[in-house]
């Protein structure tokens, strides 16, 4: 089967310009990216500030087009202009700041804005609004003003707005950076459920390591290149390499590493507190 998203040697260059608009230099934000995502997959792209991960996100729905190399989304070449609209319908984007993405003063109208612009019949719009608000757990707020919602709730409304356009894929660019812990949890839970229940392909872009533990596959970016890839466990077991790219493993993983360095025989790829507790109790009682 062909991959749903297929980036081959993807390069993106920004030109730096002076005040008169003359090009003074070139920034290579993406430098030969190869990433494949199969339909229904959940992948995470990790990277420090300035690593190129947001530039990559913008390529996924043709907001930017490749300088070199190719990117296919659901079989469509993003560099062909005629594909722009179909690609944007296929891959929906959720950005960092929920306040910049909400436009109506009633929640249900905001969610209906996308499908309305696509020319979806009114009855179908209402059905989709109801369905998508239910799937992000915000149906009871449908008559409220988004102003009165918390950051996490607003972000879930933004996700519902994308859902209502029925994309096959959702790209989330640091969706939790401005949220508090409960908001972060709710958004990540929503994203995981969309992937599992609705089979929507998810590309989660973040630098919070705790959020990617549920992904099938993780890519680590630095200086516009993919530097590491693997399952979350494979990637997190290489904490020293991650530190080189300004990233850090979750604190439970650090504890396991610390114990391992002291000579305790413990796996280095631990992701969850419960998992660490369990293993420690087994080591203590001598069954491991």
């Amino acid at each position: 089967m062909k991959p749903f998203i297929n980036a081959k040697g993807l390069v993106h260059e920004y030109s730096r310009r002076d005040e008169e608009g003359n090009v003074t230099g070139i920034n290579r934000a993406l430098d030969g990216i190869d990433i494949e995502v199969k339909a229904g997959g959940f992948i995470a792209v990790l990277g420090a500030n300035g690593s190129g991960k947001s530039t990559f996100a913008k390529h996924l729905n043709a907001l930017l087009v490749p300088t070199e190399g190719t990117l296919y989304v659901d079989g469509m070449d993003t560099s062909e202009q005629k594909n722009n609209l179909p690609i944007r319908r296929t891959a929906g984007m959720v950005f960092q700041n929920p306040d910049n993405q909400i436009i109506s003063n009633v929640v249900e109208e905001d969610v209906g804005f996308g499908p309305e612009n696509m020319g979806v019949p009114t009855e179908e719009i209402w059905r989709r609004v109801e369905e998508s608000l239910k799937s992000v757990g915000m149906y009871e707020y449908r008559k409220d003003s988004p102003n009165h919602l918390s950051g996490g709730q607003k972000q879930r409304i933004a996700i519902a707005g994308i859902m209502a356009m029925k994309p096959k894929c959702i790209v989330l660019d640091e969706p939790t950076a401005m949220l508090d812990p409960s908001g972060r949890k709710a958004v990540i839970k929503t994203v995981k459920e969309l992937n599992k229940k609705e089979n929507i392909t998810i590309i989660l872009i973040t630098h919070y390591m705790e959020e990617v533990t549920g992904a099938d596959y993780v890519y680590v970016m630095s200086e516009g290149q993919v530097k590491m890839k693997g399952t979350p466990r494979q990637v997190f077991a290489r904490s020293e390499e991650l530190a080189k790219y300004r990233l850090m493993v979750p604190e439970v993983t650090k504890i396991a590493l610390g114990l391992s360095k002291k000579g305790i025989n413990i796996p280095k790829d631990i992701l969850y507190p419960e998992e660490l507790t369990d293993i420690l109790l087994k080591i203590k009682s001598g069954v491991l």
Binding site: G47, P181, I255, P273
Partner: protein, 283 residues
């Protein structure tokens, strides 16, 4: 030196029919040289509280004393208070506006009316403290990376030489290494200059690693006040109000619940490794 809040109340929108009590009966004393964490979910009142501390907002009830003087006295010099209590807002880099890094940092002390030499000295020191290399002084602040911009913005407040520095989510949106750089800077300020630091943060991991005292707010009230070790004992209460405890503290709790005899109440990674190691080696 201290800040003392006595029965402080704050109500938004008095007289509009849509009154909302953001702070209820706050009584706290912040002592000189403390490194305080202020946690609470969105809307718990923490931003309102910090805006009272340097007089940006005025309490609708109660008194605030800075070094024993009531800041609401008619004769009190509010301008002086604002130079002593520095406030760094969320995403402070959005407030950069000058053409060069050094000009931006000089803006604050210049407005204090200091002689030019003093202004320059303070600005150079502040930038050095913030870890901004000399080669960047004449660069446009907009040409810097996100983490650098933020450190320049913080340097602008440091150049005012505040006695108390209040920061609202200073690490938000930065990658893990950038976060450590900012928090390391605060620790240095605290340890070397004895600056009182109040760190507003959602991240209990950051708080655990840096602060001496943790204040937890919920619905306009301070519900927990103590060392991180003590406050993190109240895991259930913290979860109920939308906060968590750091992962290391969580693991220690789970182990203790399962009957493990672990000494102490470690909350950071290195403390936990030590305690767990000792416990594993005991027979």
């Amino acid at each position: 030196m201290s800040i003392k809040l006595q029965n402080v109340n704050f109500i938004y929108g008095i007289g509009t029919g849509k009154e909302k009590q953001a702070l209820k009966n706050i009584n706290i004393e912040i002592n000189n040289g403390e490194f305080i964490g202020l946690a609470g979910h969105t809307g718990s009142g923490k931003s309102t509280l910090v805006q009272l501390l340097n007089g940006l907002e005025r309490a609708t009830g109660g008194e605030i004393f800075y070094n024993g003087k009531n800041i609401y006295d008619k004769s009190y010099n509010m301008r002086n208070l604002r130079s002593k209590v520095g406030l760094v807002f969320q995403y402070p880099e959005h407030q950069l506006f000058e053409t060069t890094v050094i000009n931006d940092v000089q803006f604050g002390p210049k407005n204090l009316g200091l002689p030019q030499l003093e202004v320059e000295l303070r600005s150079f020191n502040a930038l050095k403290m913030a870890g901004i290399d000399d080669s960047l002084l004449d660069v446009s602040p907009f040409a810097l990376s996100g983490g650098q911009k933020r450190r320049v913005a913080i340097a602008g407040v440091l150049a005012m030489q505040p006695e108390v520095l209040v920061l609202d989510e200073p690490a938000a949106g930065l990658d893990p290494a950038g976060r450590d750089e900012i928090l390391g800077l605060l620790k240095k300020l605290h340890d070397e200059n004895n600056t009182t630091i109040i760190l507003v943060s959602h991240s209990m991991e950051d708080i655990a690693a840096y602060v001496d005292r943790l204040l937890v707010m919920n619905q306009g009230e301070i519900v927990l006040d103590g060392s991180p070790e003590k406050v993190f004992q109240f895991e259930k209460e913290l979860e109920k109000i939308g906060l968590g405890i750091p992962q290391p503290a969580k693991v220690i709790h789970q182990l203790k619940e399962a009957g493990a005899d672990i000494k102490g109440t470690p909350v950071t990674v290195s403390e936990s490794v030590e305690s767990i190691y000792k416990w594993l080696k005991e027979t």
